[in-house]
């Protein structure tokens, strides 16, 4: 990872920290690289349980959440946030055809269907962070 470039961007964007949760390592790496290239601080997790640990530790400004994962899935992760009264904007990422419905169910601020267009991802993330 190119840490210097990451620092530049983070300064530019208030150094917002974004948590990306996905069980597929390739997707996780790709999304993290794209966001890092834009200057965001990115933390990754392989499932909901790891994601919760990150949230407890780092309080990210935004979570990009996959739906189907082993150990603790997206829904379980969101339930746990609710239970802990942690209000963090979530953008759901899914290849499922019913992404919108699930997004509304968990009160997601955005939906990113897989596979995604890079600008869509960035616009969505930037928009969310700007509003928050």
């Amino acid at each position: 990872m190119d840490m210097a470039h990451e620092a530049d961007r983070s300064a530019e964007l208030n150094s917002a920290q974004i948590l990306v949760i996905d069980d597929d390592p390739a997707i996780l790496e790709t999304v993290a690289d794209i966001l890092s290239d834009e200057g965001y601080r990115v933390v990754t997790a392989r499932n909901g349980a790891e994601g919760l640990a990150v949230v407890e530790r780092a309080r990210p400004a935004l979570v990009l959440l996959d739906r189907w994962m082993p150990v603790l899935d997206g829904q379980g992760f969101w339930n746990e946030l609710e239970r802990r009264a942690l209000r963090i904007p979530i953008i759901v990422m899914t290849a499922a055809h019913d992404a919108g419905a699930w997004a509304r169910q968990v009160g997601a601020v955005g939906v990113l269907p897989k596979p995604f267009k890079l600008p869509t991802l960035l616009d969505l993330v930037a928009g969310v962070l700007r509003e928050s």
């Binding site: 190119d2 470039h5 069980d23 597929d24 390739a26 997707i27 790496e29 790709t30 999304v31 690289d33 794209i34 290239d37 739906r67 189907w68 994962m69 082993p70 150990v71 899935d73 290849a95 499922a96 055809h97 897989k114 596979p115 995604f116 267009k117 890079l118």
Partner: protein, 1152 residues
């Protein structure tokens, strides 16, 4: 009588002379004759007889009229004759001359009586001129003038008063009126007397008649006595001879029956004369009386004429006793003329008067009555005597007749005849012999008075033998032998014979012109046989023969009549049964009628109708009545090989008749309870045959026990035939109806079965259709993969029972290895048919006593189990159970129906299953597509993201070689992932299309697995991969790429489904003839329910979705397909939450 007045005559004469002198003196005064008249009239009134009248009248005539003489003649009560009542001063010769006599009828007195006025004769000459016979008497007297005064009352002359005067004395004119006065007074007095006398006579005659009647009556009923009484009494009453002559039987002659006269000599003479000379009815006086029916009275008889009219024989008699008067009267009764009553007076007796006649008419009537009665009695008596004699004879014969009439058998007749013979001819001994049927001999059938054995040599007498008995039979005529000599005279060869008797009577027994035999009697003494005796014996023999004939005929007639009655009765019963059977249609109705009417028609106490099953192995009770419940239940069905009469009849097709329960039990020991439960009876078992085929058996019991006559047997067979026809008709009708119903049911069932495509609904529909139309219970059982038999659907009219049955199955699960019912059917594919479910069968089926108890509760009676097929595969079994609820007993038609229904149900079920599978397949495919899309999108997302990242960095100039290298590595990896996925999907397609081709070679499985393990291991971070194998290669024939794919899939699965990490054990070993590859993990494991479907395409176990483990559900499918193509197998064992082990067996390569 006139003579009574004679003592007064001198006084009267004196008075005339006295008065004569006094008249001359004219001393008479008016007062004196007035006084005399007064005296005379008083005396006349008081006079009680003719003499008293004369005493009163005649003095008055002399005193008052100064007559010289006077006389009074009166008509005697006997009539027709003037008699002297009294006279005064008249000489006797003159009196006699004046009175009529037999010789001189005409005198002035007699003539005056006929006149109404007095006759005056003024001079002697004048009177003598008229009556010369008076001259002598007159000339001796002084009397000159006469007056004859008729004394009349009501024109009837009662008497005559004669008054005579002398020449000097004449009637004075002043006295002239006195004469009529006196004569009137006298006439009155005479009339009074006559009336009195008439009355008295009448009375006397009535009295006499009464007495006569009584006398006749008392004479009794003997004709002789009556006749004697009559003649004697009549003679005494009327006088003269009285004779009775009666008409004889030919009506041509009169026979003197009785004659009476006080003079016995006269009577005897007359009797002799008259009896010797019978009077013809058409001759003489008798003819006149008989023809006119009127009496004839002869008061004067011309003797000469009489003599001339009579035969000389009578002359002497008439000389001696000249007849003076005859009176002949008819003797008759209402019924006719009996004869004549004749009265005869003789000589100078007074002739009969009309008074006599009328009196005799009365008497004759009474006499006739008495005679008629006596005659009738005599006739009756004589009839009775004959009758009594005849009766005595007849009585004996009647006794015989009556006795034999009561005899009902020839033997009885013989016994009675023997007895009668003994009574009639006590000292006789004898035999009765009958001609034998062949007509060749006489056979001894009855002995009379012989000791047994005496007649042994005579037991059989040839008819051609020279013996009296044979002759009598041949001739038909009786033989009477009065003595031994008489016998020997006729049969010389018998002279030397030892004969017990001395006289013989041998009479034929003849009837209707045929000689049946003989009655032969022997007597200890020689004797004559009088006609009576002969007649009696012949009569006896005839009676005997007739009675024998009659009894024989009676027996025949009786038999014929009994037979005819039985036939008529049976015909009527059969008719009643036929009528009743004709009006019913169903088998149960037919059975009812047979049971009800058949019992009545036969007078049976119990009846059982059985029908034979189509399998021809069992009889099933259709209707039972009169048998105890226990028996009826025990023999509800009878196997044909059972040793009971019903089964025997069914086997042989011939009726069986059993006379008693004892012989029933002796012949068929199994039937012993019948005797105990039903008592002693007779039994008839009839095969029921229709169209030469046995359809059942009917059994009837009869009490009290009896032997069946040929007629009864025939009748029972006929009745059986009737029943058979009706049953056959009902069966055919029922079969036709059932066929129609089955068709309708199948048609409806087909409609219903395709109504739903839902599998479970179809199952429910199947069982519901069958209840209650085909069964009381209906169940569908379907085997499950674990070897159990699932109760897929069950129906009963009562849903509570359905629940009960499900619970029963839960507690007592059925398995496919059971040797009964559905498992058997499903294994064999053949229907099972239990027409009668026995308790033994339930015991076999039950696994424990509790299950047996429950099975018994179901109440199985009849059962059919048929396979449910679909496309030549047996998918389950359909069971139909009949219980006591319907009481239905299944037959082969029902089995056919069930099989046909099951076929349609199987198709419906298969359709539903296919539809359901198709639906599931569509759903799985959709799910798969969705999953596949998702799975494909994952590498695509990374690949696409990296490509855009590379592009963006390039455009921004932020690309570095390191970054680019990493991006391309990721892109390459993801492309490879995609390629693998697409390849797998293509494999599925190939496998489905059968285009999966192996490139086989001999390879070492140990090495191959090692390569894959090495390939995978670097990608693992929290799993431990252990590979165990021997040192030696294990060679198999196979496609190395495909087998690597198998190992990859299994190992990747092990990794994927153990997300928490753990050890993955891979082992390759050799076991027997196979190479064994096992891959074990410590992952999630697989639910047991998912294991069977685990290798199906697109199938994913339930728990993987919950763990969001990605996958398309095709890996294991492909594994199995590849292994199978290598002639190997793949199995899985797994415990959920512990882990799974997949085992692949591959055949070892043959080392050539």
């Amino acid at each position: 009588m006139p003579t009574s007045s004679m003592p007064y005559a001198p006084r009267v004469l004196a008075a005339i002379s006295e008065t004569g002198s006094a008249s001359q003196s004219q001393a008479h005064t008016a007062s004196s004759w007035a006084s005399a008249l007064d005296t005379a009239s008083r005396q006349l009134i008081a006079a009680s007889d003719h003499a008293a009248i004369a005493d009163a009248l005649l003095p008055a005539c002399l005193d008052i009229l100064h007559a010289a003489g006077a006389m009074l003649a009166v008509v005697a009560p006997e009539q027709q004759r003037l008699v002297l009542a009294g006279a005064a001063a008249l000489p006797s010769p003159l009196l006699l001359a004046l009175l009529p006599s037999i010789s001189i009828a005409s005198t002035p007195l007699v003539d005056a009586l006929q006149q109404s006025e007095p006759c005056w004769f003024g001079s002697r000459e004048q009177i003598i001129g008229d009556y010369p016979h008076l001259a002598p008497a007159l000339e001796e007297s002084e009397l000159e003038r006469w007056v004859f005064v008729p004394l009349r009352v009501d024109a009837e002359g009662l008497g005559v008063l004669a008054v005579a005067f002398t020449r000097s004395h004449s009637i004075q004119p002043e006295h002239a009126p006195l004469l009529p006065t006196l004569s009137a007074l006298a006439a009155q007095a005479l009339a009074r007397l006559r009336n009195l006398a008439s009355m008295q006579q009448h009375k006397a005659r009535i009295q006499a008649l009464t007495e006569a009647s009584q006398a006749f009556g008392q004479a009794g009923q003997d004709l002789e006595t009556v006749l004697q009484q009559v003649t004697r009494r009549v003679s005494e009453l009327v006088g003269g001879a009285c004779g009775v002559r009666l008409l004889d039987s030919d009506g041509l002659h009169l026979q003197l029956a009785a004659l009476y006269h006080p003079d016995q000599e006269l009577a005897a003479g007359a009797w002799e004369l008259l009896t010797a000379n019978p009077q013809r009815v058409d001759e003489g006086l008798a003819a006149a009386v008989l023809s006119r029916g009127e009496p004839v009275l002869l008061t004067t008889i011309d003797q000469a004429a009489l003599r001339a009219g009579l035969r000389p024989a009578f002359h002497a008699h008439l000389e001696r006793w000249p007849i003076s008067s005859l009176l002949t009267l008819p003797l008759r009764t209402r019924s006719g003329m009996l004869g004549l009553l004749s009265m005869t007076r003789y000589a100078d007796e007074m002739p009969y008067t009309l008074d006599d006649q009328s009196f005799l008419v009365e008497l004759a009537d009474r006499a006739a009555l008495a005679i008629a009665n006596a005659q009738l009695f005599a006739s009756a008596m004589s009839t009775r005597t004959i009758a009594e004699q005849a009766a005595a004879h007849t009585l004996r014969l009647q006794t015989v007749t009556a006795a034999v009439a009561e005899a009902l058998t020839p033997d009885e007749v013989l016994a009675i005849i023997a007895d009668q013979v003994k009574q009639l001819v006590g000292d006789a001994s004898g035999i009765i012999g009958l001609v034998t049927d062949d007509g060749q001999a006489l056979e001894l059938v009855q002995t009379i008075g012989y000791a047994p054995g005496d007649l042994r040599p005579w037991q059989r007498l040839p008819l051609d033998a020279a013996q009296p008995g044979s002759d009598v039979v041949r001739s038909g005529a009786a033989q009477f032998c009065e003595s031994r000599e008489a016998l020997v005279a006729r049969y010389p060869h018998l002279a030397q014979a030892a004969l017990k008797s001395e006289a013989w009577a041998i009479v034929p027994l003849r009837a209707e012109g045929r000689t049946l035999g003989i009655l032969s009697l022997g007597f200890p003494q020689p004797r004559m046989f009088d006609p009576d005796e002969r007649g009696l014996l012949e009569f006896l023999a005839r009676q005997c023969a007739t009675a024998m004939q009659r009894t024989a005929r009676f027996r025949e007639v009786e038999q014929a009549r009994t037979l005819a009655e039985q036939v008529a009765q049976r015909t009527a019963r059969l008719y009643a049964l036929s009528t009743a059977l004709a009006s019913v249609r169903t088998l149960s109705q037919v059975t009812d009628v047979i049971v009800r009417e058949g019992m009545a028609a036969l007078g049976a106490t119990a009846v059982a109708i059985y029908q034979i099953r189509e399998d021809a192995r069992t009889l099933v009770a259709l209707g039972v009545a009169g048998y105890p419940e226990q028996l009826a239940e025990q023999w509800r069905t009878i196997p044909l090989d059972l040793a009971v009469p019903m089964a025997e009849v069914a086997r042989s097709g011939a009726p069986v008749f059993v006379d008693s329960a004892a012989s029933l039990a002796a012949r068929w020991p199994l039937t012993a309870p019948v005797m105990e439960l039903l008592g002693d009876q007779s039994f008839a078992f009839m095969p029921l045959l229709a169209r030469d085929k046995l359809i059942g058996v009917a059994g009837f019991a009869f009490a009290p026990p009896r032997s069946f006559t040929a007629e009864e047997r025939e009748f029972l067979v006929a009745l059986g035939a009737q029943c058979s026809q009706a049953m056959d008709r009902a069966r055919l009708l029922a079969a036709e109806q059932r066929a129609r119903e089955h068709l309708a049911f199948l048609s409806e069932a087909s409609t219903q079965l395709i109504a739903s495509l839902d599998y479970n609904e179809t199952l429910r529909q199947i069982v519901r259709l069958c209840v209650p139309r085909l069964a009381d219970w209906c169940a569908v059982e379907i085997p499950s993969p674990d070897g159990r038999l699932e109760l897929a659907a069950i129906a009963h009219t009562d849903p509570a029972k359905e629940q009960w049955a499900r619970e029963l199955r839960e507690h007592h699960p059925a398995t496919m290895d059971m040797p009964v019912g559905s498992p058997l059917v499903i294994r064999s594919g053949e229907p099972l048919f239990y027409p009668d479910v026995s308790d033994e069968m339930l015991q076999q089926a039950a696994s424990d006593p509790e299950e047996l108890r429950l099975l018994r509760l179901v109440g199985y009676r009849s059962m059919i189990v048929v396979p449910l097929r679909a496309r030549e595969r047996i998918i389950g079994a359909l069971g139909l159970i009949s219980t006591a609820d319907s009481g239905r007993v299944y037959n082969s038609d029902d089995v056919d129906l069930a099989a046909e229904f099951a076929r349609r149900a199987g198709v419906a079920l298969d359709n539903a299953r296919l539809y359901q599978e198709a639906q599931e397949a569509i759903q799985i495919r959709n799910q798969f597509l969705s999953i596949a899309a998702h799975e494909l999108k994952t590498p695509l997302t990374a690949l696409s993201g990296q490509a855009q990242l590379v592009q963006r960095r390039m455009s921004r100039g932020e690309q570095t070689p390191e970054r680019l290298g990493r991006s391309l590595a990721i892109i390459g990896q993801q492309a490879e992932r995609l390629d693998t996925m697409v390849g797998t999907l293509l494999d599925v397609g190939r496998l489905e299309r059968g285009q999966f081709v192996l490139e086989q070679q001999t390879l070492d499985l140990v090495g191959l697995v090692g390569r894959v393990v090495d390939e995978v291991r670097p990608d693992l971070d929290h799993h431990t991969l252990v590979y165990e194998h021997g040192v030696d290669p294990i060679l198999v024939n196979g496609d190395s790429l495909r087998l690597e794919q198998v190992v990859h899939n299994l190992v990747n699965n092990a990794v994927k489904y153990s997300p928490a990490g753990g050890t993955i054990m891979v082992r390759v070993e050799r076991q027997a003839e196979a190479a064994l590859l096992t891959v074990s993990d410590e992952g999630l494991g697989i639910p047991a329910g998912d294991l069977p479907q685990l290798f199906q395409q697109f199938y994913r176990a339930d728990n993987v979705a919950a763990h969001h483990i990605s996958g398309m559900g095709i890996g294991l499918y492909v594994v199995r397909e590849i292994v199978t193509k290598h002639n190997g197998t793949v199995d899985v064992t797994s415990i959920e939450g512990v882990g799974s082990t997949f085992t692949v067996r591959l055949p070892l390569a043959m080392i050539v």
